[in-house]
């Protein structure tokens, strides 16, 4: 890849990672004031803030690479569904507490490995963002792993709810490890992460936790993808209408 092509690819890559973080962060933020009890409410909101902070770093870097006057807000608030490139698992409605925790666990295992790999990126900014993200993800995973065991190996109802959540989420997990020409090119250049290389370790870790939590591993007989290409579930539009409302109603609003 030529330098300018590589730069544009890096920009798009930063947007993808920013979209993942913003969309998941927003879903988590929906628990604010709705948590099962005060302490967990605060903890969930902390995690949400970590992801929103992560989104800001990736978007700011994309804006810097674009050098066209855009800012982090341009990416967060003025793009429509088809321009969002987050992985689908992040946009699914928060569901019940078991669903949110199951999703969190599945993506935390992934994120930790992903950010550990991105730390060695040839791109200094991406590596620095990843370095910060790794510390957060370690903490996120400790929490979500703990909840998997508490709910899975808890009461009949908590176990049932968690099993149902894992079943509903499972078909969205293969997309985590897919890659396209853009990501392949960046991986070859030592800038991006080849997610396929993370799959075996992810499956091993998740299987072990499911077993420990006395849950059944789903059969894996269906899968959905399309997020990286802007093909989303119906819930993303509803989420964006809330997330973007102020900037849509009052463009350029400052406060």
């Amino acid at each position: 890849m030529s330098d300018s092509k590589l730069k544009e690819a890096t920009r798009q890559y930063a947007i993808r990672l920013g979209d993942d973080a913003l969309v998941l962060g927003h879903r988590l933020s929906e628990w604010c004031s709705n948590g099962p009890f005060l302490e967990e409410d605060l903890a969930l909101t902390n995690v949400a803030l970590d992801f929103i902070g992560r989104a800001r770093m990736f978007y700011s870097y994309a804006a810097e690479l674009a050098a066209d006057g855009s800012t982090e807000d341009t990416y967060a608030y003025t793009r429509d569904c088809r321009e969002f490139s987050n992985l689908l698992i992040h946009e699914l409605p928060r569901g019940d507490f078991a669903f949110s925790m199951a999703r969190q666990y599945l993506v935390d295992v992934y994120n930790l490995a992903y950010m550990e790999a991105l730390r060695t990126s040839a791109d200094g900014t991406l590596a620095a963002i990843a370095d910060k993200a790794v510390k957060e993800s370690r903490y996120h995973l400790r929490r979500s792993h703990d909840w998997m065991l508490r709910l899975g190996d808890g009461t009949d109802e908590s176990r049932q709810r968690l099993q149902r959540a894992v079943d509903e989420l499972w078909g969205y997990t293969p997309e985590l490890f897919a890659s396209d020409a853009l990501e392949q090119g960046l991986a070859d250049a030592g800038i991006g992460v080849d997610a396929a290389t993370l799959r075996a370790a992810w499956e091993q870790a998740v299987s072990a936790t499911l077993a420990e939590a006395t849950l059944q591993q789903p059969a894996g007989d269906w899968e959905v993808s399309g997020g990286r290409r802007g093909l989303h579930t119906e819930s993303l539009g509803h989420m964006l209408s809330e997330l973007q409302f102020m900037q849509r109603a009052y463009p350029g609003l400052q406060w």
């Binding site: 009890f37 005060l38 302490e39 967990e40 605060l42 903890a43 902390n46 400790r142 929490r143 508490r150």
Partner: protein, 94 residues
């Protein structure tokens, strides 16, 4: 849910060299979870370098009614008080 959970007291040491100070309490299922929540509830603005959590039921407290017998006899022994010393500037945090 928090009705069924245990109460823990949280102590935080804000800087190296200082003592752990009681900052409040929280509910959690067990000590490990209490430690996690203490981090979220009480150290959000980087207040701490070390956290202790203690089962509230493990704390034995003096009673209001015992004040007379506990503390009053000390009032007429001023020679035990360290009030007559001038502390050098360099001695902080006493």
């Amino acid at each position: 849910m928090s009705d069924h959970m245990k109460l823990f007291e949280v102590f935080i040491r804000s800087r190296r060299g200082l003592d752990h100070k009681h900052v409040g309490s929280l509910h959690a299922e067990d000590a490990q979870q209490a430690l996690e929540y203490a981090r979220d509830v009480y150290t959000r603005r980087s207040e701490g370098v070390s956290i202790w959590v203690v089962n509230s039921s493990d704390i034995v407290a003096s009673q209001e009614g015992d004040c007379e017998s506990f503390y009053d006899p000390l009032d007429d022994k001023p020679y035990r008080h360290a009030t007559h010393y001038q502390l050098p500037e360099e001695v902080n945090n006493m």
